[in-house]
Amino acid sequence: MSGRITRGFTGKRRGQQGDRLPPGQYDVGDGWPTLTAEATPTVRTEQFELAVDGLVERPTTWSWEELLALPRSTYAGDIHCVTTWSKFDMTWRGVSLDVLLEQAAPRAEAAYALVHSSSGYTTNLPLADLRDGKAWVAWEADGQPLTREHGGPARLLVPHLYFWKSAKWVSRIELLDHDQQGFWERNGYHDRGDPWVEQRYQGD
């Protein structure tokens, strides 16, 4: 991208982490901003349910206890929000989407997912972005149970894409044969959201 140089601006956040920071992002340090569009819901674990359905051989629903009984795995790394903050060196625990998908058995024509939250929020992703160790349903961040504000009790975690794809309060992963836009995507955000090529808004 080229553009006009801003008179007097040199930038002060660049540093050693230059190649860890996608273009247009800054390191938020110890902070963790909360961005939500809707009132923060309270999801009690007794009521929690997660479904994987749509184009699958075995539509499957897990209760909170059943989810926690699945094999767990960890993501250690960075997250990137479209509002331009990135947060380095987080540790997340949860279950890999590969585990959930294996149980539900996606049909051959399944190519996209529409992810639903108990708040009504939705977001769309290519199924390929949820497979092969790239995505989790996570309930712990940096050693603490995920707070309500950050999507607790459990949220989707897709750290290689902008964080609006990592739906808070995840309740359902619906597999489709076509790409169906979710909440922010209908409101002008990009359908895929790769931070390394700045897919922030429709048209990028």
Binding site: M1, S2, G3, R4, I5, T6, R7, G8, F9, T10, G11, K12, R13, R14, P23, G24, Y26, V28, G31, W32, P33, T34, L35, T36, A37, E38, A39, T40, P41, T83, T84, S118, S119, G120, Y121, T122, E149, F183, W184, R186, N187, G188, Y201, Q202, G203
Partner: protein, 240 residues
Amino acid sequence: MSAIDPMDAVAARPTAWTEARVVEVDRPTADTVRLRLEPDERQRHRPGQHYLVRLRAPDGYTAQRSYSLASDPDDALLELLVERLPDGEVSEFLAEVLEVGDVLEVRGPLGRWFAWDTTTPALCLVGGTGVVPAVSMQRAAVRLGRSDLLRVVAVGRAPGHLPYAEELAAAGATLAWTRANVDGRRAAAPTRAEVTPLLEGVEVAFVCGSARFASYAETLLQECGLAPDAIRVERFGPTG
């Protein structure tokens, strides 16, 4: 729970970066700067929407942030209010270095969710620099002669610390000070008794402010009887 859907189903229009010349700079409060910009291309916005501002260093390094628009949609200029954050890479530059005549890269309007359609009865419960989208909404309501459709409750620490306080109050907003006793009202966050009567007939509420303010506000609105899916939230700042 019900779905959160846009008030209309119109597809979002793609936006592109454009340049905007700084026409006015002033400081309404000690830690804020108000900018008025003349963009090369001005897409009409909906009150509540925001713009991106991108700064570019001589070596191509960029930093961008989003800021809500205070402008009425009929205003040819883009009006932004920037809170100067300690060590803020972008806000400090905008507050201290930027001068009239400078040119910034901007992109917008963005965000179709936190936007008022100017016809649905609405309430804004906003705090600190979160007043900005409510200013845009109120300016539109005043221009349309439909102030009856929009109620604004703006919360600040004390007089002198809340940008746009006089303009908001003159157009009928309720001001609530959390650290100052003013006109017989004791220092406090807005209460149920103050907010409940303002919710009559309201179909959508816009909450804008810090994460802490937004948590308080969305809880208060629900205690006052508003359904969660009628509440739209824009929150900013770290959670600590």
